[in-house]
Amino acid sequence: MLDYSEKALDHFFNPRNAGVLEAANAVGSVGSLEGGDAVRLMLRIDPDSRVIAEARFQAFGGGDAIAACSALTVLVTGQSVDEARRLTAGQIDAALGGLPGDRKPAADLAQAALQAALAQFLGITPEAPKPDPKPASVTLLAPRHESKPKILREVPLSPEDEATIIAQVIDSVRPTLRADGGDVTLVAVEGAKVRVHLTGNCSGCQLAALTLGGLQKRLADALGRPIRVIPEQKPLVSIAGAR
């Protein structure tokens, strides 16, 4: 039995502000069809007052994702950009009367969409998409993970083969990320750990977590063993232009 609160159920069955906002000047998209959760948040922000005049959403996902987006649009409408930037997943969760424990990530998803939309409005796109994608370079720091993998491949891959597959998988997701003004590059492979560097709209922790989750799953599927994708800690490019 799904144990959603009355508030969450109300937002799911009667979603507020659902649909396309033609006049949007800030759009944030997170998640994927493949991952089972995808959200597009559209905001119309008054350029002079920097107040969110209108918010609408589209969502593919369970009751949790749809309810979280609905609640989010209600929360941010009338907020200033600065107020909205401080909105936490916890506040979205609270507006839903508290999602069930294992469904809290839906609030993170909605908050990530908000942050992405606001980042677009504020022009936080530090790195322009590179014109010619080359396969990400690979450094092998450690031999293949020794402990018994959960998913067994018939023939174990050599570290070199694995590195090639990892680079291919990462390249395959780059066009999607670039479309959203971001990028991902491979830093290193260490056993079950794949270190990557996220830039642009992909960086910033909430978004990064979602992007990395999808990448992690693709890599694990491609390699047939569990993989942990770890983002390299590089700070978001400062908006104030500090050097």
């Binding site: 069955f13 069809l33 089972g36 995808a38 589209q58 990530p105």
Partner: protein, 387 residues
């Protein structure tokens, strides 16, 4: 309005007849069948009757081949553990990628903690076992082949009698999880190569908490539960008499079920939905699946959201997905069948029973299309594709 219950692969309504048969053993006939005094007589006789009914349900040669358990999970676990103990030189298990967690989780554990090699045979996009991979996995190192008779999510039927012959070809034991198959297709284990078979009462209108393991005469066996001499020393613990009696009565009622009628209702449901909803796929092996099961995958709609809206409309179904660590993931069966990612999150299982009626099916055909249309309209994907 009465809810439309189309989740009979999860559990079924207890047959009123089964309840009536059970009640005396929860009231005046409370005795222990092992007691030597008169109070033990009625439960002991009832136990014999129920055992014969379950024997008949699966077409076993002898009622002594039936061991009552606490359900399908215990029967599966007993069979697998027993087979591994029978020949310590054989340390491999062959199973499939689409088994019930009752089998797969135990296999994972055996592999991780006890060094058993597990071959999980893949299935094709219709859920049929990859026979070449199955043959390749068989060897004289295999202690047990365990394969489900029918899949709980798609209803796809495995040709277990033939698979059992192949298993015996390499000297392995053969077990089948027939929890979904019993009562939904004809089963006659006598004369087959099936060594062990699991059944559960609550999937065929019996009570929860009771099941049985069929153990062919002569098959080596080690009990899971040791203790008293109940079930000929094969399953210790005072018998769940009321549950066993309810199981027996439910087993007696099973042959009268008109499976062809249930299949017609299922086909009416599928035809009605397919006619009204674009971009829907029927999952499973359409040539050989359970009469009561329909697994439909809707592109660009998410299963839990569909389920919740149908639930609000008084229709109970289940999704081909499970929530794992915050994300709703397609089930292992959907993944094994390589359901395209546009639909993998939108799988809904409708499972009918003998209680299902035409008006109920028509209510679903009416209620479902707007639900899918609303969710697709909410979604950022596929606006063109589904029109």
């Amino acid at each position: 309005m009465q809810p439309v219950y189309l989740d009979n692969n999860a559990t079924t309504r207890l047959a009123p007849d089964a309840l009536q048969a059970m009640l005396p053993f929860l009231t005046q006939d409370f005795g222990n069948p092992s007691s030597m005094h008169a109070m033990g007589r009625a439960p002991a006789r009832a136990l014999i009757g129920a055992r014969r009914a379950v024997q008949a349900l699966i077409g076993a040669a002898d009622d002594a081949e039936i061991v009552f358990t606490s359900g399908g999970t215990e029967a599966n676990l007993t069979a697998i553990r027993s087979a591994l103990a029978a020949d310590p030189s054989r340390r491999e298990i062959v199973t499939s990628a689409v088994e019930h967690p009752a089998v797969l989780a135990l296999c994972d554990h055996l592999e991780r903690a006890e060094g058993v090699t597990v071959h999980r045979i893949p299935v094709d996009t219709e859920g049929r076992l990859e026979l070449d991979a199955f043959r390749a996995a068989l060897s004289d190192r295999v202690a047990l082949v365990t394969l489900m008779w029918a899949n709980n999510e798609t209803g796809t039927v495995f040709p277990v009698e033939g698979l059992a012959e192949l298993a015996h070809g390499v000297g392995a034991l053969f077990h089948t999880d027939a929890v979904q198959a019993a009562g939904k297709l004809p089963i006659a284990v006598k004369g087959t190569d099936i060594d062990m078979l699991s059944v559960s009462a609550h999937k065929l209108h019996g009570p929860k908490g009771v099941g049985a393991l069929y153990l062919r005469k002569g098959v080596p066996f080690q009990p899971l539960l040791r203790g008293g001499k109940q079930e000929r020393g094969r399953r210790a613990g005072t018998e769940n008499i009321a549950g066993i009696v309810g199981f027996g009565r439910a087993a007696e009622l099973a042959p009268a079920v008109d499976l062809a009628h249930i299949a017609r209702l299922r086909d009416r449901l599928e035809a009605g939905i397919i006619a009204a909803v674009p971009k829907v796929r029927v999952l499973g092996d359409l040539r050989d699946r359970l009469a009561n099961t329909s697994c439909l995958a809707f592109d660009f709609a998410e299963g839990e959201a569909i389920l919740m809206r149908l639930d609000r409309a008084g229709i109970a179904v289940s999704t081909g997905a499970a929530c794992s660590s915050g994300a709703i993931e397609p089930s292992h069966v959907m993944r094994a069948m390589k359901v395209p990612f546009t639909a993998a999150h939108g799988a809904i299982r409708f499972s009918l029973s003998r209680d299902t009626t035409v008006p109920e099916i028509d209510r679903v055909i009416e209620a479902l299309p707007p639900v899918i249309a609303q969710l697709r309209a909410l979604s950022p994907f596929g606006a063109e594709e589904v029109r």
